[in-house]
Symmetry: C2
Subunit: 340 residues, 2 copies
């Protein structure tokens, strides 16, 4: 029977209905459902029975209004066009959903002021928690996060600052490890080719520099930094440019796999022998990298683990507990294939 048009009643089963069915007060139902302890176990059972019988589900809006926050978590990432973040979000969502939290994705498009704007909107919706990419934010963004006292976990990078929670790995170490691999293969004129130039890319640049400087092999003319968005097409273009302007280069380390994939396709087109003439390496081990010809050497970055671990950490924080470790380093793995 549809509710009368003139009434505001929603016809919804409410907490009050459960309370009268269980013959307890609404507050007790509320407490029992949220697992607050200090509720007699027989009452909890009566409440649960009534909930099952009536098919009661709490109203998130009412809950959000009455309590300090909603039952959703905001996740701020640069863009979904980078498959890295798609994997991250899938993992976050998979961990949070069973705990009853919705995931609200905010896209910053690698822009600090857009991030600030998105965060502002997200905060209006009073999220129960926040997952934020990296540490490079505008002062206003930092201030918003601090004021809001919404639990927050940073991902992709790690920090040892007190009070900061993070899950990631050392971008710098990972880049250094890959560079070391190229050196071990006998490469000496190793170019670094990057696009987008986000903070993590710049950390990879540092790792590459560290490793080469240490052996006196660092040559700033082999740094190819392009602020344009990363893409296969750009990788192809950079590959051609680098080889034509620096013919002696014997390896190129691309800061992301899509660039490297584009480079490998350009090599096929131009009939440039990889790795014989020039080795090509990427970063992130994205879809298709193992299918390239030759298969791409890269760094596998465990974004699935990062997402899951960050979500678990956030779950602790949202329950008012301090996680065992404020920082989780999930590591990385150099995946050697045929392109180096």
């Amino acid at each position: 029977m549809p509710p009368s048009k003139r009434s505001r009643a929603t016809g919804r089963i409410t907490l009050a209905d459960v309370a009268s069915a269980a013959r307890v007060s609404p507050i007790t139902v509320s407490r029992a459902l949220r697992g607050e302890r200090g509720v007699a176990s027989d009452l909890v059972e009566r409440v649960q029975a009534a909930v099952r019988k009536l098919g009661y589900v709490p109203d998130p809006a009412a809950r959000a209004l009455a309590s300090a926050h909603g039952s959703h978590v905001g996740v701020l990432v640069p863009a979904l066009s980078n498959a890295l973040f798609v994997d991250l979000i899938e993992a976050v969502q998979r961990t949070l959903r069973p705990a009853g939290y919705q995931t609200l994705v905010g896209l910053t498009h690698y822009d600090k002021s857009e991030e600030e704007q998105v965060l502002r909107e997200q905060l209006l919706h009073r999220p129960a928690g926040l997952v934020v990419t990296g540490f490079d934010h505008s002062p206003a963004t930092r201030a918003l996060m601090a004021q809001s006292d919404v639990p927050c976990v940073h991902v992709m990078e790690t920090s040892s600052d007190p009070g900061v929670h993070s899950v990631g790995f050392s971008q710098r170490d990972a880049a250094a490890a890959l560079t070391r691999h190229l050196l071990d293969r006998g490469r000496r004129r190793i170019a670094f080719a990057a696009a987008q130039l986000d903070p993590r890319t710049m950390q990879r640049l540092e790792g590459w520099r560290d490793e080469l400087s240490r052996r006196g092999l660092h040559d700033p003319r082999l740094e190819w930094m392009n602020p344009a968005p990363s893409s296969m097409a750009l990788g192809a273009q950079m590959f051609e440019q680098i080889l034509s302007q620096r013919p002696a280069v014997d390896a190129i380390f691309f800061c992301n796999d899509d660039l490297a994939q584009g480079a490998l396709l350009a090599a096929t087109r131009l009939r440039i022998a990889v790795p014989r003439q020039v080795a090509v390496a990427g970063f992130n081990d994205l879809t298709g990298s193992d299918q390239m010809v030759p298969a791409l050497t890269t760094v596998r970055t465990p974004r699935g683990e990062i997402g899951a671990a960050a979500a678990r950490m956030l779950l602790e924080l949202m329950q008012g507990r301090e996680p065992q470790q404020p920082t989780v380093d999930v590591g990385f793995e150099v995946v050697v294939r045929d392109s180096t």
Copy 2:
């Protein structure tokens, strides 16, 4: 000054604050802000001035509780691993955000019962509107959507059923057009290779069948249907299988670009001449397809337009207006490159 610990006051600027500043009643503020007409223009101005002066922003939770629904839109898509849906979501979000709506992404993983579950959760949050992929839902899903009376726009496919709102294109016609292109190129033994086997893929199969049957060229043994998730690796594998088991095949129509990209890479690896020995075509024109060697012939599907048009249509519906057209067909384009 932080709010007293003992008070429930949030310190937030409320509609009541705006009302007293503007010297009108709270209801008038509410009406003015929602653009409800029938509010004197001088009052509207006073309200707007007060809002600006106080920096007031409405509380979504309170709004959601008091009214029938929240200020967010649920978007149900199969998976973010298919770049198609990433583009769709970006476009939806770009259109909805300026109108004050948040986008809540629900992932169904190509599973009808998971879709049902996700929809159930979404509905609990009382979305203002819904964007749903396709028309193939479980009976329970259909019932939930019908009962909820949340405005809903279906995307990717179109329907002419009364009362149904949709934005998409004819998957079947698009596949037929691509098949025609292959026939025009002189191909006669054209295989159809598909993965995932979602409804749209099956419609493409029909389009391929239509076109070949019409000329007496349809051969069911050239249908390669694999329910596994679509990927470059699978495309490579299917390519090898098809050529070894059906050596006379002179073209392969892959139902999605990632499969076709994998096939092209396999061809490079196996030194099979494309398109000389066998033509390869894909579908969707995903990132990288123009970079392949040879560049991939495919069908460009305007998911950006679909997302934007669907969001605009939903905006109308959420304002209680009926859109000019209940169905928008955005069309498609066969993009001929070098692989056919």
